[in-house]
Every structure is written in C-alpha cells, then in structure tokens.
C-alpha cells in the first residue's frame, strides 16, 4: 500500500526513528535549546558541548515527535560531533537546501564534510513532502538556536 513512501521512510530513517542515537539529556553540556513544531506537536531539546575552540565535542537530544523528526535529530547529533560551529552551520544550510530546493538551486555554504552530506542524504525524500519539511529541519533549527544562545525556537 505504501511502496512509494519508501523514499521518505528509508530503512535508515525507520531505524533511527525507532532507536535514536545520542538520545537523552547528557550529564554535561554548555548549550541547549528547545524546539517545537506546533503543527504536529514535535518537541525536542538539543544539548551541545562546545569546546573553547568552538568545536562541537558532543551532541545529544531528547523529546518526542514523529519518525522523521526523531531520525533527523538522531542523524544530526551523529554528524555534528567534531565539527566547528561554522561547519555545523554550513551543514544546516546544506540540509535545509536539500529538504526544500532542487539541486541546481542550492547555495554555496562553504566547506561541507562529504561523509556527513552522504549520511544526511537519506532524508532528501522529504523534498517531495512539503508538509513534513519542518519535521526534518526542527532539530537543525534547534541546534542553530542552541549555538546562538536562544533557548526556545519553533519552526513556525
């Protein structure tokens, strides 16, 4: 019945949705923000440990939401580790483009870690589901807010 939904719900997404990595509030973190998607009730907290050099040493999240928002948050925390704030923001820019624009419309976000880009590509299916873009980008908006010290953010 749902064969053509496999582009959106790839195995990796189902797996991360069901068994999110880096889930739970860590003992130590120095940045956090809370994100909310009022439309569907997705709510997440992102916790970052950022070193003096501006490198994300650790990233965690908790909260609840749909499979897309949970998988996206889980994949994000995996890709963020070891990135500088600037690289994290560049990935956010790329990810946002990937979810909302055709390839030729993507803007240049500076250097992108190719491994991270490949990993995040499993979520490119949301491009065909405009109503679900906010689910996929919620974690990233929240990460961005955490870096900039805004405690609350929403995708509205």
């Amino acid at each position: 019945m749902f064969d053509d939904l496999r582009d959106l719900y790839q195995e990796v997404i189902l797996d991360h949705g069901k068994h999110p990595r880096n889930f739970g509030k860590p003992e130590a973190f120095n940045r956090m923000a809370r994100g909310e998607n009022p439309l569907c009730g997705d709510k997440i907290n992102v916790y970052l440990s950022i070193g003096p050099e501006g490198v994300v040493n650790d990233a965690h999240f908790d909260g609840r939401g749909c499979a897309i928002s949970q998988a996206s948050a889980s994949l994000m925390t995996e890709t963020l580790k070891g990135k500088t704030e600037a690289e994290a923001e560049a990935l956010f820019g790329h990810f946002h483009d990937m979810c909302t624009k055709d390839d030729h419309e993507h803007t240049d976000h500076g250097h992108l870690d190719p491994e991270a880009v490949e990993k995040l590509d499993v979520l490119s299916g949301v491009r065909e589901f405009p109503m679900r873009v906010k689910c996929a980008t919620l974690a990233w908006h929240t990460m961005h807010a955490a870096i900039h010290g805004d405690e609350k953010t929403t995708t509205e």
Binding site: G41, R64, R132
Partner: protein
C-alpha cells in the same frame, strides 16, 4: 417542516454523495500512477460543499449581487432579502425564538471574541470567575485569556473523566463559588467527540446564577440543536463545518443579553446616526455587524441549512452514529490502537494513537491510501496534556461518509502498523 416523516425514509448515502462534486475526484495522481479515490475523513476541520451551496453562491453573484442594507435600488433590496432570509433559516435551524437573536460573524472564532469582548467587557470585573472545560478548542480559551489580561477575571477549568465525559461533579464544585458568572463550554468536542449534556449544564449554571455559552461548532453539525430546550444563553456555530462556505459564523444570544451588550466593532451598517460628537447604534443584531458583511457566504450558509434540513438533522445523526459504531469496533480490534474519547454520548469523531507510531507519520501514510485525516493537537493543547499524548490522529465523519470508507481507514491503519513493525 416535519422532520419525522423524512427521518423514516431510508438514508441513501450513495445518493447523498452525488450532491458533493469533490467526492468523485482522485488524489495523488501522477503520470504513470493512477490516483486514489478520496476518502475524506477530516470533516471536523472543515466539511465539503454540496452542489446546492456552490450553486447558490455562484447564482447569487451572477444574478442578484449587491451590497445589503444600504441601497434603495432594486438589487440592494433583492440581496438584502436573500441575506436576511439566512437569518430566519438559522433561527429555525437552532429553534431560536426570533431571527433578531441571531448575530452573523465571520467565524466561530469571531463569535467567541465578540462575546468575550462585548458581554465580558461589560459584565465581568476583576475577580469574577468563568468556567471553561479542559476539552475546549483554543477559540474558547484564548479570547478569555485576552479578557483576563484586560480585566483580571479568573478562569477555572472543569476536567473530563478518563473516557472523555465532562466531569459534572467537578463542575458542580466549581459552581459553588459565588463569583462564577459564566460557564463557557463545548457542546461537542472536536477531539474526543464527547457531546456534553447541555440542558443539564445550563440548569446547573443558572442555579448558580451564571450564564452559559455553548460552543456548537461541532455539535450542531452532527445532531439537531434546540437552543431553547437546552436554555442556552449563547450558542456559537461556524458555517464551513456545516457544509457551508468559510468566512461565516453564527452567534445566538438571548434577546435581553444581546440588548445589554455594547457594540463589538465600529463601522458602517451598525450605526443609526453618526456625528463627530456622538453616534447612536442600531438595534440588535445589527449593532454587532459592522461593515459590509460576508454577503455571498451568508447566501451559501442559508443554502447549507436548507440542504441539511431537507435531509433532516435527525437522519444525519442516525447515519453518522451507525458509522461511528462501525468504525469504532473495527479500529478497536487493531493491536496497539488506543481510542481517545469513548464517552457514551459521542459525535462521529474518532481520535486515536498507535503504539510506536507517531500520529504525524500515520497522517502521511494513510494519506497515500487516499484517506484524509487530521493529525496533531487539533487546537486543543490542554486536552492533549490531559490524556498524556503529544498529538493524535483524528478521523471525523460526515453525512456523506460510508462504511466502505471506514473500511478504507481501517485497512490503511493496519498497513501503517505493519509498515512500522
């Protein structure tokens, strides 16, 4: 009209469906992929429109259109008569004592804001209490909060039992306070489906010296309503859920209450005379209808009332209750599915969750099968908290839905469970 005779006629849903042009369309059509028949189960958000409503609006614009209440010319009189006829139809629909007790607004939301601002602003002072219930739509919460920040009123909340029935004992306790001036409560929950015992609530409120307002946005769509029998002081409806157009709402108010209320908005149409020193206002209900009203929408709403009245609200209710029972039984049989809202008195609304699958994902999946449901918080966030869920999926039935469509929902939901297993 004698509805009893019509109620005895068998309800021919297939014939009824032919009145709704949209129901024959397919969704998710793509080159090389056949579309799916639309199974529209998002009626609590907004209902589809019968040909009679579409035609009435188009014909009115093509033949009879003009502004109302303003001109001496021929068409102005024609348009005014047609528009005011909707007031008479609405009064009959709700069994209101007179068309003058019917105020037209642009939505249920505007009607709530009108009552809160005008009646509340004039009659409530700091420390006065109003009682809402935990299952209210945000439209019956936020206007009161705005009034609270202006005047210092106190908002109390009546709880529901675990099955979603209004907790009448708790309501009685809240009504023991002599400060309660208003009970503003839903007549039918848009999430749980719960239909509240309006007559009893009104009796309790009145015995405590409080007025009562019912949110009939959902209830009036699913069953006959008699505002005099339930002794409502105010009753609110919204047109687009009753198969009418968007942009049209109704506020019924007892005559003496409406008389006691100052205007809500100022402008043309609602005045008697205007000078820069002083303005006198028109009589009720026109006092509350500032500016050019939603004329075309009013014509469409009148046609919608004619349409459901011809089918009879009793027959519609009976048809939907059969569907509700059928769909409830089938859904309940699905492992891990939890129905939120199982009150013995319910309208045909089914909110549910599935263990391990977020409602947002349910929505996207069943949509691919052509089944339109709503997922999320349904503008009732406090209620989501009450039941410990972040969101639900909601299937809501209308007069044109069928058992086959309930089956399509159930099949799609079963497939969702398999997909996520």
């Amino acid at each position: 009209m004698d509805t009893r005779i019509l109620t005895n006629a068998p309800y021919d849903v297939e014939k009824v469906r032919q009145d709704f042009p949209i129901l024959t369309r397919l969704v998710h059509e793509k080159p090389g992929r056949p579309g799916k028949p639309l199974v529209y189960l998002d009626n609590a958000a907004s209902a589809q429109k019968p040909r009679a409503v579409i035609d009435a609006m188009a014909n009115f614009m093509a033949h009879d259109y003009s502004n109302v209440h303003r001109g001496v010319h021929y068409l102005s009189q024609v348009a005014t008569n047609l528009y005011e006829a909707t007031r008479v139809k609405t009064a009959t629909f709700l069994n209101a004592p007179s068309p003058d007790t019917i105020v037209f607004t642009r939505s249920a939301t505007e009607a709530f804001n009108l009552v809160a601002s005008s009646w509340g602003g004039a009659h409530l002072k700091a420390g006065d209490e109003i009682i809402l219930s935990v299952m209210e739509h945000h439209a019956n919460i936020v206007p009161w909060q705005l009034l609270r920040s202006r005047t210092g009123i106190v908002i109390k909340v009546a709880p529901v039992l675990d099955d979603g029935t209004l907790d009448l004992e708790a309501l009685a306790r809240l009504l023991e306070s002599p400060k309660v001036k208003l009970v503003s409560i839903t007549h039918g929950s848009n999430v749980l489906g719960t239909v509240t015992p309006a007559a009893e609530i009104a009796r309790m409120a009145h015995a405590a010296g409080a007025k009562v307002l019912f949110d009939g946005s959902q209830a009036a769509v699913h069953m006959p309503v008699d505002v005099q029998a339930i002794d409502a002081d105010f009753y609110i409806m919204t047109g687009h859920k009753l198969y009418g157009p968007t942009g049209f709402g109704v506020l019924y108010g007892k005559a003496e209450l409406l008389e006691s209320m100052p205007p809500y908005q100022g402008g043309g149409d609602m005045i008697q005379t205007v000078t820069f020193e002083e303005t006198t206002f028109r009589e009720v209900p026109h006092r509350f209808e500032a500016g050019t009203p939603p004329i075309v929408e009013g014509i469409g709403f009148g046609a919608a009332i004619d349409y459901v009245t011809a089918l009879s609200m009793g027959a519609i209710h009976a048809h939907e209750q059969r569907l509700l029972a059928y769909a409830t039984e089938k859904l309940q049989a699905i492992d891990g599915l939890r129905i939120i809202g199982t009150s013995p008195t319910k309208a045909a609304i089914l909110s549910f969750t599935i263990e391990g699958v977020h409602p947002h994902d349910i929505g996207t999946l069943v949509d691919r099968a052509g089944v339109a449901v709503r997922v999320g918080r349904h503008c009732a966030e406090p209620l989501m908290d009450r039941f410990g869920v972040g969101a639900t999926a909601r299937a809501s039935f209308a007069l044109y839905n069928t058992e086959a469509e309930a089956d399509a929902l159930v099949d799609a939901v079963r497939a969702v469970r398999e997909f996520f297993n």
